[in-house]
């Protein structure tokens, strides 16, 4: 198995695993956040705007983790420096 195949396999597998494992944590976290927000909304409907706003800010912070994993995955698929390097080497030969 030459290095080109090895780089391709590693990139593809890692890209898939990154986004797969990286979405589990944020999804669970967001579920808990929304559940707690709903129960506190039921307890204090007067504070609805504050709770909603804080909920959205919290959700965005949790979502960023999934976005980081997505960006790494995209880089591995579309802007992979190791793949570009090895392709340039193969083309130069």
């Amino acid at each position: 198995m030459d290095s080109m195949t090895l780089i391709a396999i590693a990139s593809i597998v890692t890209a898939g695993l990154t986004i797969a494992l990286g979405s589990i944590g944020p999804a669970l976290g967001e579920g808990r956040a929304v559940a707690t927000a709903l129960s506190s909304l039921a307890q204090q409907p007067d504070a609805a705007t504050t709770i909603t706003r804080t909920l959205f800010v919290g959700l965005a912070m949790i979502e960023s983790i999934a976005i980081y994993c997505f960006v790494v995955s995209m880089i591995l698929i579309f802007a992979n420096p190791f793949w570009n390097h090895i392709i340039a080497q193969a083309a130069g030969k």
Binding site: A60, F70, M74
Partner: protein, 233 residues
């Protein structure tokens, strides 16, 4: 598969490139500036006003109220910066309905520039409010051992702002592009609507986070303002 509007080159001369990011950013700036100028030409204070002026008033008073809710005491000082952040990112996402347009915030350059603006604005407003000594002292709160961690948190907050906005915008356009090659009709419309929603939410998040960072810098880290206000009984 295009990763960002940086790769849409419209015109090139040597190494000076006019790419999609620059073109669409200037288009948005033009739209915002000329649109506002046209609407605010004849402002009226009576009950009879044009609907565009009404729209602008709703937007401006809404942003001012949000800034005040976050804990900044004089929203008029900050509404120029925070309002512009919100309007730029929101308009960049809204204009996706125009065919052939790619949001410039889908390029890491634009979002990094916006995050750097926030990085510069936070010490600027902090020093303006508390003086240089007072602001620098806030880095040593609560003990001097926290100094490197406070500095690292400033930098990582900026990075998080940039990557969050970039990731959200880029993923929206990329999912749309991928879906268009698979099921060309119904599903991409739903994803496009979802992309509009996340664009607006991300615009709100960006400006609210910038407001919270500025509030933390101007209030001092010891008495960090609560985003929740006490409920008036």
């Amino acid at each position: 598969m295009r990763l960002s509007p940086d790769e849409m080159i419209f015109w090139q001369h040597g190494f000076i490139k006019l790419n999609g990011t620059i073109l669409f950013t200037w288009g948005l700036m033009f739209l915002l500036a000329v649109g506002s100028k046209l609407i605010t030409r004849n402002l009226s204070t009576e009950l009879q006003r044009s609907r565009w002026q009404n729209l602008l008033e709703i937007v401006v008073t809404g942003i001012e109220k949000q800034i005040e809710d976050v804990g900044l005491r004089h929203p008029k000082k900050y509404i120029g910066f925070l309002g512009t952040l919100f309007l730029f990112v929101a308009l960049a996402s809204l204009c996706t309905v125009i065919p052939g347009y790619e949001p410039p915030t889908g390029s890491l350059s634009t979002t990094a520039a916006l995050a750097l603006c926030v990085l510069v604005a936070v010490p600027f407003f902090g020093i303006e409010e508390q003086g240089l000594g007072g602001y620098l002292k806030s880095y040593i709160e609560p003990t001097i051992i926290m100094l490197p961690f406070n500095i690292i948190s400033e930098l990582s907050r900026t990075l998080a702002l940039a990557v969050r906005l970039f990731g959200n915008m880029m993923s929206g356009t990329m999912i749309l592009a991928i879906l268009l090659t698979i099921t060309p009709f119904v599903f991409p419309i739903a994803m496009s609507a979802l992309g509009l929603l996340t664009g607006m939410v991300q615009a709100y998040i960006f400006s609210i986070l910038a407001a919270v960072y500025i509030a933390a810098a101007t209030r001092g880290r010891k008495s960090k303002p609560e985003p929740t206000q006490a409920i008036k009984a």
